[in-house]
Symmetry: D2
Subunit: 333 residues, 4 copies
Amino acid sequence: MRFFSDNAATAHPKVLEAIAQANRVDTAYDGDALSARLDDAFSDIFETRVRAFWVTTGTAANCLALAALCPPYGGILCHRDAHIEVDEAGAPAFFTAGAKLILLDGPGAKIAPAIVDAACDGIRKDVHQVQPAAVSITNATEYGCVYRAGEVAVLGELARSRGLSLHMDGARFANALVTTGDSPADVTWRAGVDALSFGFVKNGGLNAEALILFDSSIADEIAIRRKRAGHLLSKGRFLAAQILAMLEDGLWLANARAANAAAQALAVAAPQRLVYPVEANEVFLQVSADENARLRAQGFDFYDWGPGEIRLVTSWDQESDDVALLAAAISAL
Amino acid sequence: MRFFSDNAATAHPKVLEAIAQANRVDTAYDGDALSARLDDAFSDIFETRVRAFWVTTGTAANCLALAALCPPYGGILCHRDAHIEVDEAGAPAFFTAGAKLILLDGPGAKIAPAIVDAACDGIRKDVHQVQPAAVSITNATEYGCVYRAGEVAVLGELARSRGLSLHMDGARFANALVTTGDSPADVTWRAGVDALSFGFVKNGGLNAEALILFDSSIADEIAIRRKRAGHLLSKGRFLAAQILAMLEDGLWLANARAANAAAQALAVAAPQRLVYPVEANEVFLQVSADENARLRAQGFDFYDWGPGEIRLVTSWDQESDDVALLAAAISAL
Amino acid sequence: MRFFSDNAATAHPKVLEAIAQANRVDTAYDGDALSARLDDAFSDIFETRVRAFWVTTGTAANCLALAALCPPYGGILCHRDAHIEVDEAGAPAFFTAGAKLILLDGPGAKIAPAIVDAACDGIRKDVHQVQPAAVSITNATEYGCVYRAGEVAVLGELARSRGLSLHMDGARFANALVTTGDSPADVTWRAGVDALSFGFVKNGGLNAEALILFDSSIADEIAIRRKRAGHLLSKGRFLAAQILAMLEDGLWLANARAANAAAQALAVAAPQRLVYPVEANEVFLQVSADENARLRAQGFDFYDWGPGEIRLVTSWDQESDDVALLAAAISAL
Amino acid sequence: MRFFSDNAATAHPKVLEAIAQANRVDTAYDGDALSARLDDAFSDIFETRVRAFWVTTGTAANCLALAALCPPYGGILCHRDAHIEVDEAGAPAFFTAGAKLILLDGPGAKIAPAIVDAACDGIRKDVHQVQPAAVSITNATEYGCVYRAGEVAVLGELARSRGLSLHMDGARFANALVTTGDSPADVTWRAGVDALSFGFVKNGGLNAEALILFDSSIADEIAIRRKRAGHLLSKGRFLAAQILAMLEDGLWLANARAANAAAQALAVAAPQRLVYPVEANEVFLQVSADENARLRAQGFDFYDWGPGEIRLVTSWDQESDDVALLAAAISAL
C-alpha cells in the first residue's frame, strides 16, 4: 500500500479523457485552442487578469518564475527545507544564472516575517554581499503546513516594503486551499504574490503544471525563458487539456479534499506522534525503527524521514481501505 | 488541409493507449518499470549498450547532450540553419552556460567535412578565440535532406581526429532511416556519434523524446542535468510508455514511411520546383506569391519560407486524399 | 622594431608616477579619494553627468556593459570581426549568461544602419528566435576605421526606435576622436550611446580601463557585477590614479595623436597597398609572402593578418626613427 | 591610525620598483619574459612542478579555481563564514555557472573533518540533491586562525576518499605559514590541495595575486577561463613583476612576519578579550560600545564585527608606534 509520494499516484480518468479528446490536429506549441483558454480559465479562478503558462514540472514552474523575479546577482529568501533548496538539484541557480538561495529557519518549513526581516537586516548593503531580490514560500509547505491568506499578506507587505518579489511554490496549492478555505485570490495576488507555481501533477494530473503570473509585466520574458529552457512543448494542447480538465467543475479541489481527508484519517490515529500539524496531505510521524519495520511488514510503503521519523503522503486516489488499515496499524503500534 | 508542421499532427492511437495503460501507481520520476525498460529497448535497436533518457522536447534532448559534450567555454560547430541555432531561443547557450555555436554553410543544411576542417583551421589555437569542442549535425536536416551512414562516418572520423564530440539531432531520425535504409547503429555510434536526440513527437508521439547516449560516461551527468533543468518529470512512466509504444513492432519506422511517402507524392508533382531533394518528410518548393495564394485559397496550410518559397511538411497521419489534392494542385499551378 | 600591438607598448611615465603617488593608505576597493574623483573627471569630458568605473581590461568593460544592457536571452548585434566576437574567448556569453552575438557584415568592421535594419527584420518576432536587445559598435574599429558622430547618431536613433541599447567599445576611443575632431559627447551619449568602454591601456595606461555609463540607471548593477566578476580590486586607487593621470592635461589625446601620426607616416608610404583607410593607429597592408619576409628580415615585427596581408599597429611611444625606417622599407618593397 | 583592513595598506616599495622596471616593450598578455618566469618561481617554493597564473583579485583566483574543480551542477563545501560565501557577491556561482556552496560550521571559520563527513553523509545520493564536488578552505581563515599541515592532510585525505577536489583560499597564506612554520609544500599539495589562491595584495602587493595549480591537468582550462572572465591583462608583465618582487629574498614572508608580529602585540594587550586565537594578522576583540567609542576617539580605525566585537587587522607596513599606542589603549580599557 503506497503512502510514499503523491508523485506516484495515478492520473485522474478525466485527465486521460481530456488528453484523448485533444488528439486532433491543431497549431503547434502553445498556439492551439486549448492553450488559448488558460489565461481566461485561471483569471476566473483568481478573480483578476492573470497570465498562465503550462509546463511539465514544478521545478520548471518555480525556476522560470524565480529567473524572472531575481537577477543573476540577487538572492532569494526561502526556507532551509524548501523544495527549491533541497530537491531541485540546484535548478534555481541554473535558471537564474547564479542567484543565491538565502536560507531561513522556521517550524513546519514556514517562514515568519521576523525571520525575513532579520535575514535582510543581517546583509550589509554593499556590493560584497548578495542582496535579496525575492522571497519564495511554499504553500502547503514541504511538511504539510499551510499559510493562511493573512499570513501571506504580512509577508507580501514586508516583501513590498523591502523591494522584494514574492513567489509561491504551490505544488500542493489545492491541498492548502481546501484546508484554509481561503480564496485563490486572497492567498496570492491580494496578499502580494507575484507568481505562483500551481501544481496539478501531485493532485491527479499527468504531466502538466501551471505557472501563474499576477505581474503580467514578466509574461513575455517567461514565454521566452520557457522556450529557452526546452519547456515549450510542440504539442502543448495535451498539457492545456489536462489543466482544463482539472479545473472543470472544481476537480482540483475535490481531489485535494480526498487526499487531505485521507491524511486526517491517519493523523487522528496517532495525534501524539505527529511532528507537524497535519494541514494538507502529508503526515510526519515519530516512529521507532522497530515500529517502522512493523508497518513495512504489513505492506505499507512510505518515506523514512531521518531517524525515528516517517513521512506518509496521501493522494487523491488513495484507497480508503488502505487508509483505514494504515490508521489502524498506527494506532496499534 | 494541414501541411504546416509535423508538430501539429496527432499522436498515434497506440501512444494514447500506452499512456492509458501506464496509469497505475508506480515509483516516481524515472524509477518506474516502464522507464527501466528504455535502456534495453534502445540497446536492441542500436545493437550495443546505450543509455536512454526520456525528455519532453527536442530542445531539451539536444541541449542536455551539448551541455555534457561541450564545456561552457567551448564551441559547437553546426550548420547556420540548424534548429539549435535558429529555433531554440538560445537554449544551447543556456544549457551549456555560454558555449558558442560556430556556424557553417552547406547546401540542404548539411555539413561537409571540408567545411568543418576549414572552420577549425580558421580558429587560432590560443585563449582569445573559442576552441571547438563538438560538432552537431541534424539528420534529417531542417531542409529534409539526409546523411548516409558513410557521410556521418567521415564526419565522425574527422571529429575524433580533432578531439571533438559528435552530436546528432534526430528530431526526424526515423524519416532519415527509412530513406537511406541504414541501420540505426551504422548511422550513429558506428559512425562516431556520441549522443543522439531521437525524436518521436513529430512522428506520432505525444510529448516524449529520447536522448540516447552511446558514450555512457556522460550518463550520470545527463541524469543530473535533466533534473536540474526541470526535465525530470515526476510521472515519467507516461513518457516511457509513449516511447515503448512507438518502438513496438517498428511503429516509429512505419509512421516515418507514411510521412515520407506523402512527401514523395508531393515531390513528384513538381520536380522542377524543388529547392532541395526530398529525402524525408519535408518539401520545399519555389512558388510565386500568386501561386502561393492560389494554394491557400484551395485550403492548403503551409509555411512561407522566405519570398518565393514554401515549406510543406507531411506527417504520419496525413490524409492520402489531402496529399493527392495538394499534389494535383501543385501540378496544376 | 615593434609594430605588433599597442598592447605591447610601455606605460606612460606619468602613469607610473601617479601610481607611485597613490601608494598611501586609503580606503579599500573603490572607496578611496582617487576613485571618488572619476565620475567628476569623466563628467567634465563628456559634458554631462556620467558614472565611471575602473576595470583592468577592455573585455571586462565591454562585457559588464553588455550584461547590463542585454538579458541572458537577448541578442547583441555586432560586426562579425568585432573584438567581442573574435578575441574575447566568449566572454560576452559568460558575462551575460548566454546572450547571443548576432553577426553583421560591413567594410572596415563598421556597421551600416541598413545592415542593422535587415538583421532585425530577418528575425521572426516569436519565442523561438533570439530577439536583439543591444547593438555594440567599436570605435575605432578592429581595422582602424572610425565612426563620425553623425554616423553614430544614425545608429543610435535606429537603436532607440527598435528598443535596442547601444554600446561602444572604445578600446581605441582616443585614436578615433583625434581623427574626427568630434567631441566625446557628440560621438557618444548625444548620439545615443548608453555605455562606453573607454580604453587607456593601449594608449599609455598600465592596467586601467574605464567603463562609462551615460545611462546611470544601470550603475548599481554594474557595481555589483564588477565585484561578482572579480573585477573590484582591493587597492583600486592604483587604477584610478592611472586614469586621472591619463586624463590630466589631455595626455590621452596627445598619446593618441602620436600613435595616429605614426600610422599616417606608414600609410603614406604605400597608399596603394592599404586594405582600409587609415583613420586611427592601425595600418593593414597587402604584401606578398616574399615582401613580408623582407620586412621581417629588416627587424620589423608585426602581425600576419591572413595570407597576403599584414597589420601594423603604432603606439603612443613609437620611436620616430623606427617609423621612418619602416615607412622607407615599405616604400622600397 | 588604520587597523581597518590590510587591503588598505600600501604596496611595498620593491613592488613599485619592479613595476617601473617592467615598463618596457614586451609581448602582450602573458607571453612576456616576466610572466614566463612564474611557473619556475613557484615551483621552487613548492618543491614540485606547479602552474602559476597571475590575476588581480583573490575573488578571481578563488573562483577560477572553483570553476575548474567543480561542475555547474556540483557543490562546494566551505565554511559558513568563508570569503567565497560572504564577501564575493556570489562570484562562485557566476564563475562556476551555478555550483552550490554547501555551508559548514566550525570555530574560527575552520572546517573539521567530521563536519565535512557529516555534511556529505547528509546528502542523498540521487539526482535531486546537489552532490559535493569540492572542498574549499581558507588559510589563514577569515578569523585569523590557521590550518597546520597535518590538519590539511586529514582534510585532503578525506576529500580524496570522497572524490572531492580541495581548494585553499590563501589570501593570507603567508601569514599562516610564518605562524606554523610549515613548508609551502607540506600545507598544500602534499596535504592534498589541488589549487591555491596565493595572496599578495594584502601583504604588500599592488594588484597581483597568483593562482597556483598543483593539478596541472586543469591548467589549459584555467588559462581559457581567465581570458573569458576578462582577467587576462594585456600588459601582464606588470603583474608578474609584482609577484616576482614579492617572492624575491622572501619578501612575502618578511612582510607577513611584520603583520603577524603587530597582531601579536595587540593580542597580548588583552588576552581575555580575544574571540579567537590570534594566529595571523587579525585580532577579534570583545569590546563594549562604550569601549569601542573610546578607541575610536583616540584615532583608531577598525571594523565593527557585530555588536560587542571589533576586528583589528594589521599590515606589513603597520607603524610600530601605532601598534604600541593601540595596545596600550586596549590594555587601558
